[in-house]
Structure formats: structure tokens, C-alpha cells
Amino acid sequence: MALDRWIALVLLGICLVYGYAAWFTMDGGLAPFMRRNPIWPSTFPKVLSIIAIMSALVILLGLEKGQAEDAKPTITWTEFRSYKLAQAALLLGLMVAYALLLRPAGFIASTMGFLILGSAVLGERRWITMVIVSGLATGVVWYLVQVVLGIFMRPLPAFMGV
């Protein structure tokens, strides 16, 4: 089964859960006076869930002809393995780490760390250039966000005050 149909299966699951919530559980807490309304909070989601489940089934069962054979396959397994998956995964990990560290470690430390480690993951080894570039960028962005846009960003780690 091709990747797009696997995805359709996952989406079908999501839509079924959504549809279940819309059709069966959502209206439980509805106030009596709202029940006399022609439209309920669940009306639109109910319609959506039907369309979504139908289109997920169409993709899953391959009912829509015309593509499959002649169109290019979405992606082949060999092609996929030649991709730099480790690098991409590491960068995503760095982004998660950045999200978790931004508040506790402060903007300057986490941003410089992210930029330096990010280019290191991609194979850059000119450490001095990396430190200078990331330091400059961090400073400029902090200035823009804090001073020009006026959005508070804690620059230093939490234990150092501010």
C-alpha cells in the first residue's frame, strides 16, 4: 500500500473520532434553551465529519481513477533512504529542545546554541565563524523583537534574574 493510502487510513481514524465526538458526545452538555436553536455547536462539525470520512474512504480505496499508474509515484523507498534523515531528525530535536529551553535558559543562550548546533548538524566546522554569525544574528533579532516590536523576551537564564 502506498504512503498516501496509509495516510488516508490515519486521517480516516482521526475523522472517525472527530465524527464520534460531534454526533454522540458533544451535545450532552448543551443547555436546554439552546436545543431549540436550529443550529447547534455540533451541526457544522457533523457535516464536516461526513465529507471527511467520505473523501478519506475514496483515497483509501483508490476509487478516484486517473492517477495511480501514469502519475509519478509519490516517493520510492530507495529514494527515501538516500535522504539525510538523521540530519533532519536531529534538527527537529533541536527545535523541540529550543522550545523547551527558551524560557528557562533565556533567549540569548538558547538561540546561539540552536544556530551553532544547527549548522554543526549540517556539517559546518568553522566554529569561530559560526559563533560570530550566530552571536550577531541573536543580538539583532533580540533588539528587533524586544525594542522595535516591544515583545518581552527574557534574554538571560532564569536563575540570573530578569
Partner: protein
Amino acid sequence: MLEGVLIGLETAFSIQNLLMVVGGCLIGTFIGMLPGLGPMSIIAIMIPVAISLGDPAAALILLAGVYYGAIFGGSTSSILLNAPGVAGTVATSFDGYPMARQGKAGKALTIAAIASFCGGTIGAILLMIFAPMLSSVALLFHSAEYFALMVVGLSAIAAFAGTGQVAKAIMMTVLGLIMATVGEGALFNMPRFTMGLMDLQSGFAFITLAMAMFALPEALFLVLDPARSKSGSSGDIKDLRITREEAKAMAPVVGRQSLQGFFIGVLPGAGATIASFLGYAVERNIAPKEEQEQFGKGSVKGLAAPETANNAACTGSFVPLLTLGIPGSGTTAILLGALIALNVSPGPRLMVDDPQIFWAVIISMYIGNLILLILNLPLIPYIAKVLALPRNFLIPFILFFTLMGAYIGQNNATELLILVGFGLCATVLRFADYPLAPLLIGFILGGMLEDNFSRSMQLYDGVSFIWERPMTLGLLMIALLLVVLPSYRARRAKARQSGVADGD
């Protein structure tokens, strides 16, 4: 109209807005030139900046400047490196790159710049004529018609997704609509589908979603497949002049493609990409025999056609956005999101309530096109240096800017985790050829679609508005036809191929 133009001139020629046009065009050109980064990512990254300007006219002018700057920059990298940064400029590389290989890179850039300028300017004139007409018709619309119109827009986007893709595009649109129902709606005062999480109380943030759908997957693709971000020096660019014969050959092409491109751009779902490919194909078909053979080998007409068409289509795509409040493409969907964030609701009332925004944007399009021509053309040899920027530095910065954009919008670190999660999902979806723009368009239109639907339901005490209002019924029929026809046609073509007789 004259009054409107004067208001527009007054607003657009303020120092701040002029700076916005110049800045937007330059930023757009710079980033649009980087292979693999499309206008949608650039605009998504620029939104936090635009929103914090606080002035809707300035914000829209800035973002529009970035938009056509990016298209222009994309054609530069198509011509110089055969690496289109933007899907809308793929057709540009068919003839632009061979020309550059023959040592005529400067000439190719000039042709592209002039064609873009003409396409954009003629597009802006057409926009000025058609937008007020359309919006005066749209003022007669009732919420039922609005609901139907949005359904038509969304189905048109699915219909243009191409054969075999319609179900996927519908799936993505509905998924966007589903995501829009998460959180507290304006009509009901009760949280829906939040799964008890406080962070979802106000729904998903539009900026986060825009970044996750466009900027993040593009950056990840650059990491995954280094061949995509092929960078290199562009060589010397000299001799920017074109001859009189070349100008003569270009003129009719530019005239035809400005019109064709504009009207393709107006259709929802058919944007710059379709316009440029169609423009190229049409010009090749109507060219005389001997010139036809030149196409693909560095033909002046072959370069001018897609360049004119894609710029005219960019302008055309502003028509449904400004008059109906319905975005026809991913880019205009992002612009719509930015406008809503700034408390402006685009639609037929825009011309009445905020004429300065409407006209300033149109006037700024002229200025933007002029700036692209006079500022960028002499600067191109220098700007092209950005193509040599090392990707090891570039990619972490793109990722950092997506993170910052999401953070500034919400001031909340959880938003960053949502961004990474959705970004990962979006990348997987891209692998499987699921179009992502419909999802964002669905998400942005979701709230309005439901509001209009609910309002008509309340007014008519049920769904009777569908058959009691002929215009609503008509529009909904069109929507149904749009969705059903492509798959029916594909089915019939398939049946014919396998030797089965047609039913009709």
C-alpha cells in the same frame, strides 16, 4: 473611482508605505531567489513583522511587495541556475536557462523584468476596473450566498488540483475546516474539541499553522535532499540591453499573456503556476513554425510568456481576496489571515469601510512593479550573490525564523511544540503528494464559513435557505459540478483508453 485612486495615492505615497514597498520588494527578491523557498514561506515568516506594524494598509503593502518580489526573485534563480525557487517560475527556466547558458544571462533577466513589469502593471489596471464591479455585486449578497460562495471557492481549489488529486485536495480542505472548529467559536461560547487542553481553548494559531504548512517542510526538504538547494556562483552578468527586434517580438506576447494570466489568477485555485505553464503552452502553439522550434532553446517569446502570465496572475489573485474576502491561493490565504489579525475583514465592505486600504494596495502594486524594474535590475548582479550563501548557515536560520514567528505571534513556548509537530505532519503529507495550501485555506475560511452557515440556518430556521434562495442553490450546484466533473472526466478518459465505449 477617481476619488478612490486619489485616496490610494495619498496613502501609498506616505513615507512609511513607500518604505514598506521598497523593503518588501527587496526582501522578497532576496529570499525568493533562494532555491526551494517559495513565496508562501517568505510571507509566512514576514507576517509577525507585518502584524506588529499595526497599520493594515502598511502591512498589506509590505506583504504584497514581498509576494511579487519573491516571484521576481524566483525567476532570477530559474534563469541563472535552472533552480526555480517558486513553482510559478518553473516555466521561466525552460527558455531562461538556455539563454543564460548562451552567455545572455543579462538579456534574459532584462526580458524577464520587463515582462514581469508589464504583466504586473496591466494586471493592476484590470484589478482596478474589475474589483469595484465585482464588489458592488457582492454587496447584494446575503449570508446564505456567502456561505455558498465560499463552498464554490473551496471546491474550485480542489477541482484545479488535477486529475487523481481531487479527493486529496478535498480531504485537506475539510481537514483545515475541521481544525478551524477546534476552540471556542464566536457563535456558541463553548469550547469544542479541545480535549480538555487549555492551550487549545483559543484554537490553533494561524501563524503557527502557516509556518508549519509551508516554511518548515520546505526547510526540511532542503535538509533531506541537498540537491534541492544547489547553490553556486552565477557568473558574470553583463549586457542587460535588449534589441528593438526582441522588444517587438515580446510586445504581443506580453499583451496576450497579461490578460490571460490575470483572468486565470482570478479563478480560485488556479494561480501563478497554472498561468505560467498555460501561457507558455499557448504562446508556443500560436507561434509560427520556425519560432516554435526556438522554444526551449532560449526563445524570447518563451521567456516573456510565463513571466508576464505569472505576474499578472499574482495580481489577479487579489481580486477574490479584496472583493469577496475569499482567498484563491495559499499566498492570498496567508494575506487574508494577516488582515483578520489586524481587525480588517476583507470582502465587499472593504471598499466602503476602508477605501484607503483597498486603493493603497492597488497603487502600491504599480509602485512595487516600478521598483522591481528600476531598483532590482541594476542590482541583480549583486543580489545574485545570495545564491552563493552556504546552506549550512541558511537552513538553521530559516528554522529559527519559523520558531520566532510562531513564538512572537503567541508568546507561548507550547506553540513551538505544536509548530514542530504540525511541521512534521506536513512534511509527511508532502511526501505523499497531499496538497497543503487547501488545508490552510480551509482553516482560514472555516470560521467565516461556519458563521455564515449558522446565520442562514437561524434566519431560515433550518436548511431551507438552500432551495429558497435561487442564487445560493445555483452556487452550490456549481460547487458540486466542480468537484464531480474532474473525476468523471478522468474516469471517462480511462474507460476510453481501455477500449470501453462511452456511456453518452
